[in-house]
Amino acid sequence: MKKIDFITELKELLEIEGELLETTPLYLTSLSTLTLIVFLDENFNKRVKAADLKNITTIRDLISLIGSELIT
């Protein structure tokens, strides 16, 4: 997936208002964690633990978790 599409989709899914950059701080509620789990499973066939998502503070962290080779 292209990085720009990834960020656009996340912005919509997580209902983030304003600009979303790789370094924008992310605040995940349990609902947005659920949304991310589904998004990652559906698009990357990637199963992530809720505890791992707790450590995510930016999009950049999320990309590292998924694997930067999958988001170009």
Partner: protein, 330 residues
């Protein structure tokens, strides 16, 4: 053997989303109800228990079925009146059933109805019983902290009573069951039993979504439970189909445990079940734990969503972790 009758009972008191919003003004009503697919849930009164709900549901189902014919009670609950005696024994007496019957409780949550069917089938096949009264009764509201809006919005109380009888034809097919106790900490009431007794001084915690709770009450790690279902439910469906030598296409209708809309939408998609064959209705009841499947089945009969001869796949999954599926012919 087959399911002969199902009735259910929901407590009178209803808690609507609007009422919850009054208690939790920060709650986004539209967003939450769209995600979870629940508008209201029934909640027991303080002096009402799962056993009371079980009694009402059982009385309803026994109105059209001879009481004397029941020779076994299986009661699924995680909200017993007492550690002992067994709720099913008390139910036998309150229903005025004969004493020459078997009765036992089993402690399971959302997989409970499927397990109950499996136990009933075993009892009937081995000629231990002929007419089993399977009751699922739950009052999670008593386990949930009043300030825990997430769990209060999802769970509802209720009971269902199902009669499974030997009829000479087998309409309850093979089962696929699963257990993984490593998930115990993701859905748990830590205190109140014998490992950790109820602690009135237990410290309260607030999660990232602002839900307040403590170890005396129910804790659910929603995202991890979701992961568990993603991992296990599609496989469970495939395995039960294989065990019964049936294809996904040959199943007329699918009833999964009605956990919440968001989860069911994704599981349906992942399992590749056509939307028109997939039951979803928890708007007015919420997640009633072990009773969602029998309530759904009853609703399907009443609304003619299934017709005589249809093959229906039932799948339950949740606390434990515990999961199970079977296929019935209606």
């Amino acid at each position: 053997m087959e399911i002969r009758a199902i009735e259910y009972y929901l407590p009178e008191n209803i808690v609507s989303n609007e009422q919850l919003v009054k208690e939790f003004p920060e709650w986004n009503l539209e967003k939450i109800s769209e995600k979870i697919g629940i508008n209201q849930r029934h909640v027991v009164a303080n002096n009402e228990t799962a056993l009371d709900l079980a009694l009402f549901a059982s009385e309803k189902v026994l109105k059209s079925f001879g009481k004397d014919l029941i020779d076994f009670i299986l009661l699924c609950t995680q909200s017993p009146d007492y550690y002992l005696p067994t709720s099913a024994c008390i139910l036998q007496n309150r229903l005025n059933l004969k004493t020459s019957i078997g009765a036992l409780d089993f402690n399971l949550g959302c997989s409970g109805f499927v397990y109950g069917l499996a136990l009933a089938k075993g009892l009937i096949q081995t000629r231990i019983a002929t007419n089993v009264l399977l009751v699922t009764a739950e009052t999670y509201s008593k386990h949930i902290h009043r300030k825990d809006k997430a769990n209060r919005s999802i769970f509802g109380d209720g009971a269902a009573a199902t009669i499974i009888s030997e009829t000479g034809v087998n309409k309850i097919f093979e089962f696929e069951l699963g257990t993984d106790g490593s998930g115990m900490n993701n859905l748990i009431v830590r205190n109140g039993a014998l490992r950790n007794q109820f602690n009135p001084f237990e410290k309260e915690t607030i999660d990232e979504s602002g839900n307040l709770s403590n170890n005396n009450f129910l804790y659910m790690n929603g995202p991890e439970i979701f992961n568990f279902t993603i991992e296990n439910v599609p496989t469970l469906v495939n395995k039960v189909l294989t065990k019964n030598s049936l294809s996904l296409e040959s199943i007329d209708y699918f009833i999964f445990h009605q956990a919440n809309k968001y989860m069911l939408d994704y599981l349906r998609k992942k399992t590749k079940i056509p939307i028109e064959k997939f039951y979803q209705n928890m708007e007015n009841t919420g997640n009633t734990v072990s009773s969602t499947i029998p309530i759904a089945l009853k609703d399907c009969f009443e609304r003619n969503l299934v017709k005589k001869g249809d093959k229906v796949l039932l799948a339950g999954f949740g606390v434990g972790y515990s999961w199970g599926a079977t296929i019935i012919q209606v």
